[in-house]
């Protein structure tokens, strides 16, 4: 067969490389600012756009979807063309993919800063941007599958399997977790409520880790590690088992984020079992990566690319052992809500994703610029500073987590909580938070060195935008299985059929977990005393979501004596049935708030306390790390949206009376005037139309319904 000449598109690869570097710095600098706010809360500068709750999603989304996302596209666009011996399917689709993704990132950063958020972790984007994500993702998939179809190699290499699984699963996750009904251009309500929303959200959240941060990077590992080590992957056989076992198992593990929550126990157990089983395929991948270096470890001493790869793969192994351990009930009882989770997440993000991105950059940039890396020494310095940064980041957080859970759970000999004031447990952690910031700063310093090194490499090189290559065209063969051809061999040359089988593999777990939760009524027992929020409380709840309060405060009391003593009754599934979205949170930088409004409860504070606390938390307690929210006191509440919000809630099954939307604002003002009058009696002059009034109304509602159900704390049966 005659050779065909074609050209690889390196321009798109270069653009994604530049984008990953730029967004990496932005995302991590925001992360550093967040970490410093734990020590100096004044660094929120008293303005809404830089408060913790608003910039935390900017940090997480920028690192995950901008830094890692662009790095992923960079690696895929380069390797896919070469593995398929074909140029990308369409230059126009490549351009839409690149510029569309950057538009999404900019839109995300701006909308989060302005408080437009769905309030669901790692899925905070509001509905118009969700639609844009769906379009750009389809463009990426179209471009990728088109390239695979016009390939000049018969067999589809294992790296591409991981890319395909990434495309399919992220599409499913994004669509399922973003079914929202719009209220305004930048406000919507998710269709799921409470426990069901929590399950769908963490099915998404966990698998965003699995299929955005893991599978595409495993694909990159299977291409770039053999290239850098100049030897084939240790075991192609193992890679086959690794791929199928991993994608099948990962999808089941989401409920491990909700252990000891109000989620039905059978779902939690499924999450635990499959999380533990995940160790096997995860370590299969890690072992396959590290053993590829057999006989080449001498190169690791010299080659910074291999150094980055070894630490990346090792960090993957560490995270994928630690994750399943944290999923077991015994460990989760102490690790959940603490900084352990943050440390674990950063081992993965900084070690696995960050280091693999830089390994690929150091390998790829010199090649597309037809030169050598400017300085190996500088790259090695980056490696060591980055590695130290990871250690300095994670170790203080592990130490802090141990301190946290010990303090949260300690009782005096008389049977009282030893540290009943949550703030004591926060103050104790400040040195660890400071050390964490040093670790983060070191990591960023390494990146700056890396960027400097890459800029000088680029300056010394000559960019090869269109890289010539040649290969014979693929001879067309029957789509049917040839004689003697195994089913999987056939599948490995049929990308569409392969994708369908992968889709079935990932859907099994999600369907078995999520569908029964919706259909079996006994999973969510209703509680008669639980009523819909009043219009003012609903508006207050939306402000709570807008300010990202869930990033520091949970609304989920677990069935432990240490928690019921501190907060009150443990969480019941039936109390969240009108929560669109759920606001359980995943980290306690402040106390749980789900029993905040119970007048006889341990957490109760009067309206005036909430007013003063929002105005200046440090005035109430100098050690507090809560940001000020003085704009809630200055800004008027927008009540024009109330009727629409009530209508949408009715559509979602919330039992407001018919026609209530027309009188909702009258109801709202009546309640607001009562709170305003109460504040006035405490010497605080606050008009009823201010946002703070709605926020106070919402906070004072928390836990009230479940308390009035007559289920006293003494009637519960905590685990320990």
């Amino acid at each position: 067969m005659e050779n065909q000449t074609f050209y690889y598109d390196n321009k798109t690869v270069k653009l994604f490389a530049y984008a990953t570097l730029f967004w990496g710095v932005v995302g991590m600098v925001v992360g550093l600012l967040l970490s410093l706010q734990f020590i100096w809360p004044q660094l929120s500068f008293g303005i809404p756009y830089t408060t913790f709750g608003r910039i935390r999603p900017i940090h997480t989304n920028a690192v995950i979807f901008a830094f890692v996302g662009n790095g992923m596209f960079m690696g895929i666009y380069y390797s896919l063309q070469r593995l398929c011996k074909a140029r990308m399917f369409s230059d126009i689709l490549s351009k839409i993919n690149f510029w569309g993704w950057q538009l999404i990132i900019v839109a995300a950063a701006l909308t989060f800063a302005f408080g437009f958020t769905t309030g669901k972790e790692y899925a905070e984007l509001e509905w118009p941007i969700d639609l844009l994500v769906a379009v750009v993702w389809i463009v990426f998939g179209w471009n990728m599958i088109g390239t695979i179809i016009k390939r000049r190699t018969r067999h589809i290499y294992v790296a591409i399997w991981f890319y395909l699984a990434t495309f399919i699963t992220v599409a499913v996750l994004h669509v399922a977790n973003s079914i929202e009904i719009p209220i305004t251009l930048f406000k919507s309500y998710i269709v799921y409520a409470g426990v069901q929303d929590a399950l769908v959200q963490w099915w998404y959240g966990h698998n965003a880790v699995a299929f955005f941060l893991t599978t595409p990077f495993l694909g990159l590992m299977y291409y770039y590690l053999p290239k850098a080590a100049n030897r084939p992957i240790y075991s192609y056989r193992l890679s086959i088992v690794h791929f199928w076992a991993l994608i099948f198992l990962y999808i089941w593990a989401g409920p491990h984020h909700l252990i000891y929550s109000a989620l039905p126990n059978w779902t939690q157990s499924l999450g635990v079992v499959f999380s533990v089983m995940l160790i096997a395929p995860s370590w299969g991948g890690m072992v396959n990566g590290l053993l590829t270096l057999r006989g080449a470890w001498d190169k690791v001493r010299e080659d910074p690319v291999l150094k980055f790869m070894v630490v990346a793969v090792t960090a993957y192994g560490m995270s994928t052992f630690e994750g399943p351990m944290m999923s077991t009930k015994t460990v989760n009882a102490i690790s959940h809500f603490t900084d352990w989770t943050v440390g674990h997440a950063h081992i993965g993000a900084l070690g696995w994703n960050g280091f693999l991105v830089f390994a690929v950059l150091y390998w790829l940039i010199p090649r597309i610029f037809q030169t050598n890396l400017y300085s190996k020494k500088l790259a090695n310095t980056h490696f060591w500073i980055g590695t130290l940064g990871i250690v300095f980041y994670a170790v203080p957080l592990y130490w802090g987590a141990i301190t946290q859970f010990l303090m949260w759970k300690e009782f005096t000999p008389e049977g009282f909580l030893k540290y009943p004031n949550f703030l004591e447990t926060v103050t104790q952690l400040k040195p660890m938070y400071a050390a964490r910031s040093i670790g983060g700063a070191l990591y960023i310093t390494g990146i700056v060195l890396g960027i400097y090194n890459l800029i000088l490499t680029i300056r010394g090189g000559n960019f090869l935008a269109e890289e010539a290559a040649s290969a014979p065209a693929l001879v067309a063969v029957s789509g049917k299985r040839a004689s003697g051809e195994g089913a999987h061999r056939w599948l490995e040359r049929r990308p569409i059929q392969f994708s369908i089988v992968a889709l079935i593999a990932i859907l099994i777990g999600g369907i078995i977990e999520i569908v029964p939760l919706y259909l079996v009524k006994t999973n969510i027992p209703s509680i008669a005393s639980v009523k819909p929020y009043t219009p003012l409380e609903l508006q207050g709840r939306d402000i709570y979501v807008r300010e990202g309060c869930y990033t520091c405060h949970s609304q989920q009391v677990r069935p432990f004596r240490s928690e019921t003593e501190r907060y009150g009754q443990y969480a019941k599934a039936g109390e969240y049935v009108y929560d669109h979205p759920f606001q359980w949170g995943s980290k306690r930088n402040g106390p749980d708030l789900s029993r905040e409004g119970v007048v006889s409860g341990k957490q109760y504070k009067p309206n005036s306390w909430h007013y003063n606390h929002m105005l200046n938390p440090q005035k109430l307690n100098a050690q507090s790390i809560m940001p000020v929210y003085k704009w809630l006191i200055a800004d008027d509440l927008d009540i024009s949206t109330t009727p629409r919000k009530i209508c949408v809630m009715q559509m979602l099954g919330v039992p407001y009376p018919a026609g209530f939307d027309l009188t909702a604002n009258d109801d709202l003002m009546r309640q607001a005037e009562l709170i305003s009058a109460d504040l006035k009696s405490q010497g605080i002059d606050c008009a009823p139309n201010k946002e703070i009034i709605a926020m106070i109304a919402y906070l004072q509602r928390l836990g009230v319904d479940i308390h009035s159900a007559g289920l006293s704390a003494a009637s519960v049966n905590p685990v320990k």
Partner: protein, 60 residues
């Protein structure tokens, strides 16, 4: 229809066991397939990243 089916499901706690069995069957099939591939084919597949025309590694 599905609603009625799932409401009548008893012993939903067995889901863990059933799910594990589903995985073990799936896993067994994949392992059997992996071990049925000829060594020569595996070697050929694993060398696919080296068939492109970019320079060899470790030149940085």
């Amino acid at each position: 229809m599905f609603n009625q089916v799932f409401q009548s499901v008893s012993g939903i706690n067995n889901y863990g066991l059933v799910s594990t069995i589903i995985f073990l069957v799936f896993f067994t099939v994949v392992v059997l397939h992996a071990f049925s591939i000829k060594k020569q084919d595996l070697s050929e597949f694993s060398r696919l990243p080296f068939e492109d025309e970019t320079k060899d590694s470790n030149e940085v």
